[in-house]
């Protein structure tokens, strides 16, 4: 009660990318409030893109300047190599997704209007759209940036929510198939909130165990605090539940197909890429920086989860008849492959570096490919919006060979065929796992890949080897944004598949510093 409280020191320069994104989000809200309707979109788009690009530039500048060895903001946010790499990845992916969102055809004019009502029709006629999408997206991206960099569990929790809450809303904003979209939003929200409650209770228990929510202090406490193992184990398990949910790992994968299907496709693209990247970053940080000393206990669990995730993702994907659901299950399966990378981390510096860099590379590769795939999905349309049912995709290869070819290429990348980015991603992760003695897991992973390949190939078969339906969907002329997204994604998939070295180097450098504690 005496003396002044020491003002915390905050390294604003280090946090600059975050601040830029959040700042732009707030400006976006102001634009929503004060700009006239017809101007909003014209202001939002450059604002959003510039802020993302600016944040990216700042992140790059920091990486060049040298990675700090101490967590910033009083130990709350760790801006280390992996964090910077993940930031860069998320920012690029978000940038690309924004180009997709730009096509406002995807978003409802008035979210509050009851589907089928007069207001709804009016908003459709007016071609009005919720321009709130942009600030919401920026907030979500800000959360995504903060989540993997959070160096204490409280910040992680807040970031988790900042990331998720806008996404819950964005999920419900699809212009077409409103009911489906709203349903997705409700499901995502209820399950997401449920899982974050688990995360929070885990945080509480670990706080009770270690007396701090700081990851480094928790790790220290692992060695020094005794007799409270119940708290520790239950807490760690609950944290794991919360994080694995966000990743969509089995048995917490149930939300993913529903949400991916119902959401507006650009949002799905963002979730499938950005959220996954962020969640893996956070998972790694929490389990390595915070619970690294406990790895003998959580590693077997992750082993099981990884196997289950891969198998569930791969097998259930086969039964899907909806392209977005199929991609969702594919995302689940890829989550499983990525978990192999998490397990592959080990105790020696070299093991960690190779596993981490592999994981980072995989995230980049997968992120781009998946954004591209969803971008293609937005372009194949029926009278009622995007054509999701697989049967509608039959013969697309004849109607629009370029588009179908690109999509097939993305699918091959998902399947991990060499000379695509997906191959090196998988390879990097598998190699790290074998090096760390997780060969059985890799074998299961390989089998799952083979199963997964089946449903990717099936889509290719459908597109190229089947005859087109008479009243098949039309491929819309892509807007410049969408075309750019598909182009960028395809380019990334090729380049990372043929000459991955620069990105691998970058990932390696980023991983070398490991996590600051």
């Amino acid at each position: 009660m005496n003396g002044t409280i020491q003002a915390p020191s905050i390294e604003y320069a280090l946090l600059a990318p975050l601040l830029v994104v959040f700042g732009a989000a707030i400006v976006g809200v102001l634009v929503e409030a004060f700009a006239p309707r017809y101007l909003r979109s014209a202001i939002h788009l450059p604002l959003t893109l510039l802020s993302l690009a600016g944040a990216f530039a700042l992140a790059v500048w920091q990486a060049i300047k040298g990675v700090p060895t101490k967590p910033a903001a009083m130990g709350a946010v760790a801006v280390d190599g992996p964090a910077l790499f993940i930031w860069g990845t998320i920012l690029i992916l978000a940038f690309v997704s924004v180009l997709l969102i730009k096509d406002e055809e995807h978003f409802v004019g008035s979210a509050a209007a009851v589907p089928g009502s007069a207001e709804e029709e009016q908003s459709l006629v007016e071609r009005a759209a919720h321009t709130e999408v942009y600030p919401l997206l920026l907030f979500a991206v800000g959360g995504m940036l903060l989540f993997p960099a959070a160096n204490d569990l409280l910040v992680a929790f807040v970031a988790l929510e900042v990331m998720s809450l806008p996404l819950y809303l964005l999920c419900g904003l699809a212009r077409r198939r409103r009911l489906l979209s709203q349903e997705a939003a409700v499901k995502y929200f209820l399950l997401g909130a449920f899982s974050s409650a688990f995360f929070l209770y885990g945080t509480a228990l670990l706080y009770g165990y270690a007396g701090s929510v700081d990851l480094a202090k928790i790790n220290q406490a692992l060695g020094s605090v005794g007799g409270q193992d119940t708290l520790l184990y239950i807490g760690a398990a609950m944290l794991g539940v919360g994080l694995l949910f966000k990743i969509g790992a089995a048995p917490f994968q149930a939300w993913k197909p529903d949400v991916y299907q119902g959401s507006p496709t650009p949002i799905t693209a963002l979730m499938a890429s950005g959220t996954l990247v962020a969640a893996f970053g956070a998972l790694l940080r929490v389990f390595w920086v915070g619970l690294g000393g406990l790895d003998w206990d959580w590693r077997p669990v992750f082993y099981g989860v990884a196997i289950l995730t891969m198998v569930v993702g791969a097998i259930l994907a086969i039964t899907q008849t909806d392209i977005k659901r199929m991609l969702a299950y594919s995302s689940i399966a890829h989550g499983g492959f990525l978990l192999i990378g998490v397990i592959a981390t080990g105790h020696t510096q070299a093991e960690n570096t190779s596993a981490l860099s592999g994981l980072l590379f995989y995230l980049v590769a997968y992120g781009f490919t998946t954004v591209g795939a969803f971008a293609v999905v937005t372009m194949v349309r029926d009278a009622g919006g995007e054509a999701w049912h697989l049967s509608r995709w039959a013969g697309l290869g004849k109607r629009s060979p370029l588009l179908a070819g690109t999509f097939a290429f993305f699918l091959l990348a998902f399947a991990g065929i060499p000379l695509t980015s997906g191959f090196f991603g998988k390879y990097a992760v598998f190699q790290a796992a074998v090096a760390n003695g997780a060969t059985p897991l890799v074998i299961i992973g390989v089998v799952a890949s083979a199963i997964a390949a089946f449903f990717y190939v099936r889509v290719i078969v459908l597109m190229f080897f089947s005859d087109p339906a008479a009243d098949g969907p039309s491929v819309v002329l892509p807007s410049r944004g969408t075309a750019a997204v598909v182009g960028i994604a395809a380019l990334a998939t090729v380049v990372l598949g043929v000459y991955p070295q620069p990105v691998l180097d970058l990932a390696h450098t980023a991983a070398q510093s490991l996590f600051v504690r």
Partner: protein, 501 residues
């Protein structure tokens, strides 16, 4: 001059060029020209190859992905050289043969020929790769163009066949990937260069596991019994040209891989598994032949003969004698020509009549004598008639195996007899006898088709009487390979070069 890169580069550029050409006819001609250029370059390279020089020649090595220790490393030894030569020869022939294939289904002609050239580049790459990882990349990537060729341009069941082909190969490939990774990790050399990896794995148990990883992939690719079930489907549904490349070249990657990687990288495991492989081979020889007899579909029949032939090749590889090894390598080349000829001529026949079923034919000899005659030559080469090149290789394999494994060699001989049955019976049913109503108006081979068949028949005959140039190239390489497995022949090898004359 970076011969191998040039070969691949020309093919790839050609493939790109084909997609840019707007006119279908021009595209075909362009493809033919490109493939002939590649052939010319390959021959030029082959001429410069000195059989008694370094084991690997025309080597090029660049870092590709240093972080994984992956190089872009290409070079050829005798074995690879002849297989590359085989590919380079078959491609222009296939181009010529497939002149009208793509048009049948109203599908993009340019894409087909573009895929063909891409495939050629990859075939050259896969044989030339001296980096295990690069080999794997080509091994897997090769599937995709072939997949599209089967799936888009094949017969009625094409998509089923294509998917089956792809998934089988992919599955094998992924198992191999695990083995590749494990090899890299266990060797701990930080490089994937083949030459650096040879002899690094000493532990026999490890060798066995890794061997299995590689071997299953190759066995599926080869295809060895019991991994062969995809082949009849794929070969039967593929367009004739693609089938030639599939059976003639792509499947050789399997046996080539066994010879190059399974033996040299895991010598102890190879020795351990030899009985098993030989057994499988022998079963394959006999099984393939018996099943072939029972086929009613010409292309399936030819596919099953290949299963039988691949049994011989695998047996030759694992017999681990110079004679058998050289024979097996030679067999790969000869089989490419002979099966290629069979598929192509059968393809011409099917194109004319519109049916693959043997029962729909009869007495073709009378209406189309040249077609029937060349078909007979090709068929006889398949049953290894002395005087045709396949005889030389089959004989070498059998004698080579006999030196070490008597019983299998004897049983395999049964395959030769069965071969006579299936080929001659098929010939009899289709070409002899009363002319079926439906084939009465079949035209004989036209000029283009004659140009397709002529080189193949010529090659079969030439190498049947004078295989020495090939053997000169192959022998040192095989010896070298076997010596790195530290196997010596049980008794001095018969001077096989004279055997065939």
């Amino acid at each position: 001059m970076p011969w191998l890169s040039t070969l691949m580069g020309v093919s790839v550029l050609g493939a790109l060029g084909v997609t840019l050409v707007r006119n279908d006819k021009l595209a075909k001609q362009f493809t033919l020209v490109v493939s002939l250029i590649v052939l010319a370059l390959t021959v030029a390279m082959a001429v410069q190859f000195s059989p008694n020089g370094d084991k690997f020649q025309f080597a090029e090595t660049y870092d590709w992905i240093p972080q994984f220790g992956v190089h872009y490393g290409v070079a050829v030894d005798g074995i690879a050289l002849v297989l590359i030569l085989l590919s380079a020869i078959l491609v222009p022939i296939v181009v010529l043969a497939s002149w009208h294939d793509a048009e049948a289904g109203k599908r993009s002609v340019r894409t087909y020929f573009s895929l063909l050239l891409v495939l050629e580049a990859m075939m050259i790459g896969v044989f030339a790769a001296t980096d295990v990882f690069l080999f794997y990349v080509f091994f897997e990537a090769m599937l995709i163009p072939m997949y599209f060729m089967i799936g888009s341009y094949g017969g009625a069941q094409r998509s089923y066949a294509a998917v089956k082909f792809l998934l089988y190969s992919l599955f094998g490939g992924l198992l191999m990937l695990v083995a590749v990774i494990a090899l890299y990790t266990i060797a701990g050399k930080g490089t994937f260069m083949f030459s650096d990896l040879v002899g690094t794995i000493q532990d026999v148990t490890t060798q066995k596991w890794l061997f299995l990883g590689f071997f299953i992939a190759f066995a599926i690719k080869a295809p060895l019994w019991p991994f062969h079930t995809w082949l009849p489907d794929a070969a039967a549904q593929a367009p004739a040209g693609a089938a030639v490349l599939l059976v003639g070249v792509l499947d050789k990657v399997g046996t080539y891989g066994m010879l190059r990687f399974c033996l040299e990288l895991f010598p102890d495991a190879a020795k351990f598994f030899t009985p098993l492989v030989i057994t499988l081979s022998v079963i394959g020889i006999v099984y393939g032949a018996i099943v072939a007899i029972g086929q009613t579909d010409m292309k399936r029949l030819i596919a099953y003969t290949s299963v039988s032939h691949f049994g011989f090749i695998a047996m030759g590889v694992f017999a681990m004698t110079t004679s058998a090894g050289s024979g097996a390598t030679l067999y790969m080349v000869n089989h490419g020509f002979s099966t290629g000829a069979l598929f192509l001529i059968a393809g011409f026949l099917i194109y004319r009549r519109g049916s693959q079923f043997i029962a729909d034919y009869g007495g073709v000899q009378k209406v189309a004598p040249i077609l029937a005659g060349t078909f007979l030559v090709a068929g006889l080469s398949s049953l290894s008639l002395p005087g045709l090149s396949t005889f030389v290789s089959e004989f070498m394999v059998l004698t080579g195996t006999y030196q070490r494994y008597v019983v299998p060699a004897v049983i395999a001989t049964v395959g030769v007899i069965l071969a006579a049955i299936y080929i001659l019976w098929m010939y009899q049913r289709t070409m002899n006898g009363p002319t079926a109503e439906s084939v009465k108006s079949l035209p004989d081979l036209n000029a283009r088709e004659k140009w397709v068949v002529a080189p193949l028949v010529a090659l079969l005959l030439v190498f049947g009487f004078y295989p020495k140039p090939l053997l000169d190239v192959i022998n040192p390489a095989v010896k070298d390979t076997l010596s790195s497995v530290s196997v010596t022949d049980p008794k001095p090898a018969v001077p096989v070069a004279q055997e065939g004359q």
